[in-house]
Structures are given as C-alpha cells and as structure tokens.
C-alpha cells in the first residue's frame, strides 16, 4: 500500500461521516475495508480512540467477521467454491488450476496486488457447479479450459 499520510486522510474522511457512537464500529470498519482493502493496525487503533473503545475490542470484533482482512488484498477477488456440489463436479481441480496460474495458494494475494484467492463453502448456486466468483461476477460450469478466459476477463 502507499504512503502513510494517504491512509490517514482516507480515515479522516471516513470518520467525518460518523459521530463516535460505539454502534458505528462495524460500519466504520466496513468503510475502511472497502477503501483500503484491509484493516491496518494503526487504523484500528485510531478507530478505537475515535469510539473510545480499547484496541483489543476493535481487534476482537474485526477478527470475528470473515469480511475483514488484515493484510492488503488484491484488486481482484477470486473466490472458488469448495462446497459439496462443486467438489463433486471438479471444484478441487479448478482451485488447483487457479492456484497454479496465479502462483498463490488459497487465502493469499499475488505480489503485484492484482489477485486475492479465497474459497467458500457454497454460494448457493449449486446448479451451476463448479462455481467461481470474481469481483461479484458469478461464473458457472467452470472448466480448467475456460479459466484463462475468465481470469483475463476480470482484468
């Protein structure tokens, strides 16, 4: 991520929409996640100060939710379904192929911050199995052959 002042400015801008009530913790964290792609430690500290909470409370809340990340995430989020239906229809092979193409394992981010690879346990679109979701776009009946196309489409 870029220089520190940037983060500070983004945070100030986000916090200017809030009044400092404790109940605003999650919305604030969501805004930060959206803007910066992750929750840096110093941001969590400042949020804690702003809401008059302790650092560990903020940390406890943010680690509970899968939507928050603590390391920078890539511009494109690739989520591969590891649910039963997708597994039966070759989800594991799809995941392996994506890992090979991007050169990262699940849960990791490419060095150029282009892709983050995640898995989930069923999108609820089992009829389309195997399913891959890239930045909110759902790709169904994915085959390893189709992957190249799908991944370049995301860029």
């Amino acid at each position: 991520m870029t220089a520190e002042p940037d983060v500070a400015r983004e945070l100030a801008e986000i916090l200017s929409h809030y009044s400092g009530a404790k109940s605003e913790l999650i919305p604030i964290l969501q805004d930060v996640q959206e803007k910066l792609g992750y929750l840096p430690e110093e941001v969590m500290q400042r949020v804690a100060k702003f809401l008059r909470l302790t650092d560990n409370t903020v940390y406890g809340v943010s680690t509970f939710y899968a939507q928050f990340s603590f390391t920078p995430t890539g511009r494109n989020k690739v989520t591969v379904c590891r649910g039963t239906a997708c597994h039966v229809r070759g989800g594991a092979r799809i995941l392996a192929e994506i890992e090979r193409r991007l050169g990262i394992k699940e849960g990791e981010t490419t060095d150029d911050l282009e892709y983050t690879l995640e898995t989930t346990a069923c999108f609820g679109s089992c009829a389309l199995a195997p399913v891959v979701v890239i930045n909110k776009n759902v790709y169904g009946r994915v085959t390893t052959a189709k992957l190249a196309e799908i991944l370049t489409m995301a860029e």
Partner: protein, 225 residues
C-alpha cells in the same frame, strides 16, 4: 422484593423475585456446579455446566443466568441434566491439553474438580487441540492459552473488578481466544501486578510465575466418589 414460590427437586421453596435459579438453589442448600459463573461477575452463560431442567421449557436452561418465575418447577440433578453436564465436561476436556500432572494449579483447578465430581471417566473424544505458546515474559502473570476454556472470567474480572480492559475475545469458532491488544503475548506494558485475573481463572491458563522450588498451590485434590 416480592417472594416467589418455586419447586426445586420436588421441594417447595420461597425465593426473592429477580434471583437466578442458581441463587435460589444455593440459598436452599442445593449445589449446582458452575464454571464460567462467579458470584462477583455478571452472569454470562458461556459454559453450560450449570444447566437444569425446567418443566415446560423446550431445552435445559442455564441456571446461572435464568431468573426464577412464580411456580417454576426445577430439577437440578435429573438423569438428563447429569448426562448433559457430563457431556459438556467431556467436550471441554477433549480440547483441553491434559497436562494436569505438570500444571501448577492442578490442585485448585475447577475443571478437574467438576470432572471428578461428575465422575467423568477416560476421554472418549479425540480432537485437534489448540496449542499456544506459553506466555511467560511478564513478571506478574504467566498465561497458557492451551489450558483456557473460554469462560471469559478473566476478561470480565479485568473490566468489572480491576477496572481495566486488558482482555478481549477475538476470532471465531475453534479459533476464538482471549487476546491482549492485537493478539500480543501478555507483558508488563499492558498488565500490572493486580493479579485479579489469576484468581478468577478456573483453570491453569492464568497463573503467577512460580519461584524456584515453590510448591504447587492448594491442597492435593481428593477425589471422593
């Protein structure tokens, strides 16, 4: 406060409105085991050891946090209750590290005592245990999260009794644990020597650093059954 009549184990007793089932039982000489509950802390209902049967209730209820109501019929030691308590202890022990022989607090460990009281036998369950490194850099407390049963007594004691907020709960499911700051080992920067959390911890997860040659704390546990 108004008097309320409830039936505990077939005996009609009167208790004050606003009391929990546990308090009403204790007042009448009936012992219900508790683990996450402590009389000086706000009830939480995390461990479920204290469950009792209440007639008309779909499930067993936690006695440490359920207030009594007029005409309640309560069974504190029915077969169902005992079986459930035993199962809970077994599950707690299944993920517990089990190094009681070496544990400083073995003789005053509430988990061990309850397991003995309930006659929980050899472990039936095998599961992945969460091993955490021993945190012994602070001169005031040694923390071994491997022995933590997530009762949150330390966190409540720290904020309610000591007036600090050193501990919070982070992560979720099997990964959840009591954290200090951003999940750092406990050191003397965050925690002073008040020792409150140590005395509230029911297991060996929080302890005083042991001086050389110092003996284990407490009397040897005598298992009576």
């Amino acid at each position: 406060m108004a008097e309320i009549t409830v039936t505990i184990n077939g005996r009609q007793v009167s208790a004050k409105e606003g009391m929990t089932i546990l308090e009403a039982a204790l007042e009448n000489g009936i012992d219900i085991p508790t683990l996450c509950h402590h009389q000086d802390l706000t009830p939480l209902g995390a461990c479920r050891i204290c469950v009792v049967e209440v007639e008309g209730s779909r499930t067993l209820v936690g006695s440490c946090h359920t207030p009594i109501t007029e005409g309640m019929v309560i069974h504190t030691h029915s077969d169902k209750v005992l079986a459930t308590r035993r199962m809970i202890v077994e599950l707690l022990l299944a993920s517990h590290c089990g190094s009681c022989f070496m544990c400083d607090k073995a003789n005053i460990c509430e988990l061990r005592k309850i397991a003995a009281d309930l006659e929980v036998g050899l472990p039936r369950f095998q599961m992945r245990k969460n091993y955490y490194p021993l945190e012994d850099i602070s001169p005031y407390v040694v923390r071994d999260l491997t022995k933590c049963i997530m009762c949150r007594r330390c966190a409540r004691a720290c904020s309610e009794v000591a007036g600090h907020n050193v501990f919070a709960i982070a992560y979720r499911g099997f990964d959840s644990k009591v954290v200090v700051d951003f999940d750092q080992p406990i050191d003397k920067e965050v925690c002073r020597d008040c020792g409150v959390c140590i005395s509230f911890c029911p297991t060996g997860a929080l302890g005083k650093p042991r001086e050389a040659k110092e003996e284990k704390r407490g009397k040897p546990l005598i298992i009576t059954s």
